[in-house]
Subunit: 140 residues, 2 copies
């Protein structure tokens, strides 16, 4: 898969991300993240911060999504941000979504933001994520 006009280090990280997702194995994800990486959930405004929690959330999302597939890829002119369009299902609800990822000059992921539509799918995802992460996450 093309890495577009991303800077080489960011492109290499994105390629490794795609490999991990394809293998359904995010165990090495922390090696791609900045220590202070932020995850911005489609459901809650306040970001979650720190490589361990970002890794936990993304591992859980990948388990919740069924029939997950990436489509178009977009990049900024500075080569340090990408948008990955995806489709998936949550509890038989079809989802359109995007991962919006910002990299630092070293190629580490510093910001991982997810948006999905429609609202019914977002509600189903939020409920499922909340149930799985209740033991780990602070109350909203």
């Amino acid at each position: 898969m093309t890495t577009l006009a991303l800077q080489p280090a960011a492109g290499a990280t994105l390629n490794r991300w795609h490999d991990m997702v394809a293998a359904k194995d995010l165990s090495q994800l922390p090696t791609l993240l900045s220590e202070q990486a932020a995850f911005r959930s489609p459901a809650v405004f306040k970001p979650y911060r720190g490589a361990p929690v970002v890794s936990l959330i993304l591992n859980t999302v990948l388990q919740v999504f069924k029939e997950f597939e990436y489509h178009r890829q977009f990049a900024t002119a500075d080569g340090l941000s990408a948008v990955l369009e995806f489709t998936a299902k949550v509890e038989d609800k079809e989802i359109h979504g995007i991962d919006m990822i910002r990299f630092n000059e070293a190629g580490q992921i510093v910001d991982f933001e997810v948006m999905i539509r429609p609202m019914s799918a977002l509600q189903a995802l939020a409920a499922e994520m909340g149930a799985r992460l209740a033991a780990f996450m602070p109350a909203k």
Copy 2:
């Protein structure tokens, strides 16, 4: 604002879109749309189709959003799709969102998809849009 690596006709359309949004005047928007343009709402899965209804919806969204501002711009390698990151407020709720726009070779907008987060802002936007468009739109 840079038009990134978009094809020239698509880039020209995107520049005109930015001018219209900056002027808060979308009266000429239909000239940028394919007759069969689709609008994909952040709230509802089924797309709305046709230049008149897409124009009506985008006019209404622009009225509902306060403090609307674009940030990063992303493009696909084929130069026919763009993602525009934005922030706005709806009823004092902060919104992060994206417009994901697909152009045809003639530079017309054929698909305009919007995603926003977090869920509370999406619910507020959906309620406000529903109230304003109730007279025009089919029931969900």
